[in-house]
Amino acid sequence: MSFFCNSYPIIEKKALAGDIYSYTLLCPEVANEAKTGQFVQVKAEGYTLRRPISICSIDKEKGTIRLVFEIRGKGTDKISQLNKGDLMDIIAPLGNGFNYSTEKQGRVIVVGGGIGTPPMLDIARDYGERATAILGFRSFDRVILDKDYAKGGAKTIVCTDDGSVGVAGTIAKPLEEELSKGDVAMVFGCGPTPMLKAVVECCKAAGVPSQVSLEQRMGCGVGACVVCACTVIRGGRQYVLRVCKDGPVFKGEEVVL
């Protein structure tokens, strides 16, 4: 795997919900190399650090990648001012990505929370009707990508904390129910830490392996600065690894959340 540092044209920009934006970049070299679950480091003009943003979807034929992010601060606000036709300066693709093969038997479940929803869209696309997407949001006006998930054939369950749409409450109950139906080969999760903890616990209880994508404040994004640490336990030993290069995807059974 290799990465590039370049500016690529924005060919589409859409506002999804509130302060959440979707961008499509024409970057054949990146799209060709990219894997589901990887991320990009986006330059925010006038800021020292780039902002890590997960890849939502990759279209290798068209040579595009799609990025979906929320304005969290001044850096992401600056990036969100870019428009169709502008160039976006990115380092990409970065990180390890999700590990899966659709040739293997069984169903998969993807669990997304809020702005952690985007990076698993292509997993759902690849598994089609064998995928179940459980997507959790604060309220109805924060719901994103539910139709995109459903479009690929995945059974899509939306949950909201306030019950304003879909299942009231967290993703935990629907996840338990889906797991209890059996035949689940893998669960993929991305979202806030309490949600990831719930995903890993449910999977452990059901004896199903899981992979979770972590978020952390990053420096370089390529492994050099060792800013974005996380702890994993492997073979009884504790290791402090880099979210950017050793992750952002880790085995749920190994990572300390």
């Binding site: 800021y47 020292t48 952390q216 420096g219 492994g223 600065c225 800013v227 640490a229 402090v240 290069k245």
Partner: protein, 302 residues
């Protein structure tokens, strides 16, 4: 036009060195350009035993800079010698080991063991603001700085660079103290101690509460300190702190730096060191200067 510089008998093809902590062990950016494009690489601060570093978050953006509180996370000396050093030594660049420790014995042992390797130079980190023991606790007093320098000097024949902290009343006194104990070179500045608070949660952004400030915000402080130190000692000075462009690098060398290091700028633009080298060449050409050495310390103070 030549960018070649020689420091402590060591030849560098250009005066641009990747700063410790910003460039790992030289193998993270090779997808973009070979590490041989750089004059040298100062490797991630290495301690005798592996170190896990501080809790996260360890980084925060600041006006024109960043705060970090990594806390010297590194794989330890054994792994450096057996794995990273041989890999980097295959490249045509000067390899500098950056070493840190909690005690004088730690520094001595690390230096002793590096002496029998083919590492080119040793940079002594007595300026890390993010560890409770060692690090900057040595670098903030003349006695502490002198003690560690002396121990390392006795342990190795390799050229010894002492990396100084700016978090002191008078950096020239520290520089003189390490020169007196046999330092071959000083590098400065390490990061300035800083802090940021999230006003919504009233929590510091860094889990370590405080961290080291770097980036363009510290550049004028670094230029001033390099100028003062280069006037106070006879040994060469490596200048660093917020260098992002060729103009910055040239300014730093005019202040008295014989070579420069770049760190934070690389996070924003991985090609920044390459652009600095190109910009330096252009400056020499445009001004009809034969060698980059000819600009060192040429500031004309009022």
């Amino acid at each position: 036009m030549s960018l070649e510089v020689t420091l402590c008998g060591q030849k560098f093809k250009n005066p641009i060195i990747a700063a410790s902590g910003a460039y790992g062990f030289g193998d993270d950016y090779t997808d973009l350009y070979p590490v041989s494009a750089l004059g040298g690489v100062s490797c991630k601060g290495t301690t005798l035993k592996p170190k896990d570093g501080n809790p996260t978050p360890r980084i925060a953006e600041t006006p024109s800079g960043i705060l970090n509180s990594v806390g010297l996370q590194n794989p330890g000396l054994d792994r450096f010698i057996s794995y990273y050093l041989p890999r980097l030594k295959k490249e045509d660049t000067v390899v500098i080991a950056n070493i840190a420790g909690a005690t004088v014995d730690d520094y001595r042992e690390v230096a002793t063991r590096l002496d029998s390797t083919d590492v080119d130079m040793i940079e002594l980190n007595i300026s890390c603001p993010n560890v409770k023991q060692g690090g900057a606790t040595w670098g903030v007093t003349c006695t502490g700085a002198a003690t560690v320098t002396k121990a390392v000097r006795e342990a190795t024949k390799k050229p010894v660079i002492v990396k100084l902290t700016p978090n002191v009343t008078d950096i020239t006194e520290i520089a003189r103290a390490v020169e007196a104990e046999g330092a071959d070179c000083v590098s400065l500045i390490n990061t300035l101690l800083g802090m940021r608070i999230d006003i919504r949660t009233r929590r510091p952004i860094l889990k370590n509460n405080v961290g080291g400030l770097s980036g363009p915000a510290v550049f004028p402080v670094a230029v001033r300190m390099v100028w003062q130190v280069s006037n106070a000692v006879k040994i060469p000075v490596i200048g660093m702190g917020g260098i992002a462009t060729a103009e910055d690098a040239i300014e730093m060398m005019m202040a008295g730096a014989s070579a420069i290091q770049m760190g934070t700028a690389i996070f924003g633009d991985p090609y920044a060191p390459i652009k600095v080298a190109q910009g330096m060449e252009k400056f020499l050409k445009d001004n009809n200067i034969g060698s980059i050495n000819d600009i060192v310390g040429t500031v004309k103070p009022w």
